[in-house]
């Protein structure tokens, strides 16, 4: 019989050994199965994991320090590189934080446009995560199909901002440009084709006996434990707690949309997979609602201190020239104060704690990064399971190295 004991450092270790031979296994930092730079020093007895010790920080880039020197609009590219699977959510979350601090009201149309972009990003992020769970169980097919769909989402980003991965999307106060006709055509095509292909992917895995046997019960966590670890996002909901920032603290007019929050029961890999699958469907529904109800109006707020004027006006009008110069040189001042704003990122509550002393840069900026907080439960979730389940648990937790290490 195995017995779990908790060491004084909070680590959980298993006392079970098969023949007394314990090996130390270095899983990572660069291992094809870990999908990023994660190191775990495992003590294994055969295939069974007795203890795990994660080491993080391999791609730490000191974003919080960098942000203390950059003007507000230049911090957006930093947020791209947090969770790079869904950069637009990070960008828009940051813009909304600054808008909250500066007291900027954006038009309703901007809210709806943001909702569309953020839900597209959520779909892209969940697609990556779920199709990679398939890869880790040996089902490569779904991955290849779903990456074609993700490609279409990236093409949609390109129409809005010109970039694909690190999008730097939108501006403080709204968008840099309105949705154009090509975007609408591509989005409509996506909304028509994607559900068909997605259902095919769903049929391939969700009720597949082999897949279910493989992932049910892998890396479980209870709701109580998940809350103690401050889990958020799909991982918390898979454990059975329906906390979603979009519903709890609606931002960007999420209260206007009708959608449901899927919850799981056991918090294992299968529940996390199924919760994400359902969230993709809900996101599609939100996008359709936003398109149907899209208000008319401007695609940015009227805030010349923060929003770059059109280039042709810079050459003709004095005010535009001044504002252009001040924004580009980072001379825009912002009220002193402190603000916490959070959005529902693709993998959890993405929070921005911003302290301003009224200067041109933040005095202090802290990112509440969901992965960083829930990844510390990883050893507890894999101890006493087998190595291949540990790989599955990591991919189903959707730990993104960029966000983990900031």
């Amino acid at each position: 019989m195995s017995e779990l004991i908790i060491k004084s450092t909070g680590q959980m270790i298993s006392t079970e050994t098969i023949d007394g031979d314990i090996a130390t296994l270095n899983l990572g930092p660069t291992h094809p199965a870990t999908h990023g730079i994660f190191q775990n020093i495992l003590k294994v007895d055969g295939e069974r994991i007795l203890s795990a010790e994660p080491t993080i920080g391999y791609i730490h880039r000191a974003f919080e320090k960098l942000a203390e020197r950059r003007p507000y609009n230049q911090i957006t590219p930093i947020t791209d590189r947090l969770n790079y699977c869904s950069s637009p959510i990070n960008n828009i979350g940051w813009h909304m934080t600054v808008e909250k601090l500066a007291g900027i009201e954006v038009p309703k149309r901007v809210d709806y446009m943001r909702v569309i972009v953020m839900e597209l990003a959520r779909i892209a992020d969940h697609l990556v995560c779920n199709s990679v769970i398939g890869v880790d169980t040996g089902a490569l097919t779904g991955f290849t199909y779903m990456f074609q769909e993700r490609e279409k989402i990236y093409e949609l980003y390109e129409e809005i901002c010109g970039a694909r991965l690190t999008t730097n999307l939108g501006r403080i106060g709204g968008f840099e440009r309105d949705f154009n006709d090509i975007f609408h055509a591509k989005l409509n095509a996506f909304l028509k084709e994607f559900p068909v292909n997605f259902d095919e992917f769903d049929r391939l895995l969700t009720r597949n006996r082999i897949f279910m046997d493989r992932v049910i019960g892998a890396g479980p966590i209870t709701a109580e434990r998940a809350v103690e670890y401050s889990f958020s996002g799909p991982n918390l909901r898979a454990a059975g707690l329906d906390y979603d920032v979009r519903v709890m603290n609606p931002y960007s007019s999420y209260q206007d949309f009708d959608f449901s929050i899927p919850v799981g029961k056991d918090g294992d890999t299968y529940d996390r997979f199924v919760v994400r699958q359902e969230e993709i469907r809900q996101s599609l529904s939100i996008i359709r609602q936003a398109l149907d109800k899209m208000p008319s109006g401007d695609f940015h707020a009227n805030v010349p201190e923060f929003y770059l004027p059109p280039k042709e006006e810079v050459y003709r009008s004095m005010e535009s020239l001044i504002y252009h110069f001040k924004i580009v040189m980072g001379e825009t001042t912002i009220p002193a104060g402190e603000v916490y704003h959070s959005v529902e990122g693709a993998n959890g509550e993405l929070g921005y704690y911003l302290v301003s002393d009224g200067g041109r840069t933040p005095y202090r900026l802290h990112f509440r990064r969901p992965c960083f907080i829930y990844y510390q439960a990883y050893p507890e979730m894999i101890v006493d399971s087998v190595l291949s389940d540990a790989i599955l648990t990591m991919s189903s937790m959707n730990v993104i190295a960029g966000e983990l290490d900031a």
Binding site: T9, I56, H60, A62, E68, V227, E228, Y243, G351, Y363
Partner: protein, 163 residues
């Protein structure tokens, strides 16, 4: 629950020694001393349902003598959807604060990160090591005395904007 009820609870719990204020974003800010932290968090968690620790971070204010550091906690009551922000000021000479890992397992890495970047000593933390920076680093990089760029550089001097 709203901010008034919560303020009344906190005032009663701390014998009016906590400084509560609601900011313009409707967030209740509570300033307390380090020795009150555990007791207040215990009360908030067990009596007021603040079971979710959203975030721990710190900030450095070198010009505030005697209160150079501030550790900031965000707690969340998920049932009634109420947030609260606790702030503890610490002097650089006595940069010790009790750990919250006894109440929230998830505080472990958040406190390690705060220690890593600001050198805040969380007394009673089970494993207070650096987390993102290298183990052999001998300073705490988010403190304000460490400028982001080498201040002796002259090739980037801007005589018009002073930076």
């Amino acid at each position: 629950m709203n901010n008034e009820i919560l303020t009344a609870f906190i005032n009663e719990h701390t014998n009016n020694s906590a400084v509560c204020s609601v900011d313009q974003y409707d967030m209740l800010n509570v300033k307390i001393n380090a020795d009150q932290l555990i007791d207040l968090v215990d009360g908030l968690k067990n009596k007021q349902g603040f079971i979710y620790l959203t975030d721990i971070c710190a900030a450095h204010y070198p010009e505030k003598v005697g209160a150079e550091f501030e550790v900031i906690y965000h707690l969340h009551n998920l049932i009634e959807n109420q947030r609260v922000r606790l702030k503890v000021a610490l002097a650089e000479s006595d940069i010790n604060i009790p750990t919250l890992t006894v109440h929230f397992v998830g505080a472990n890495w958040m406190e390690r990160e705060t220690f890593d970047f600001y050198g805040v000593n969380f007394v009673g933390h089970p494993d207070l090591r650096r987390i993102l920076n290298m183990d052999d680093m001998d300073y705490h990089p988010l403190r304000k005395q460490y400028a982001l760029e080498d201040e002796t550089r002259t090739d980037k001097n801007d005589t018009f904007f002073g930076r």
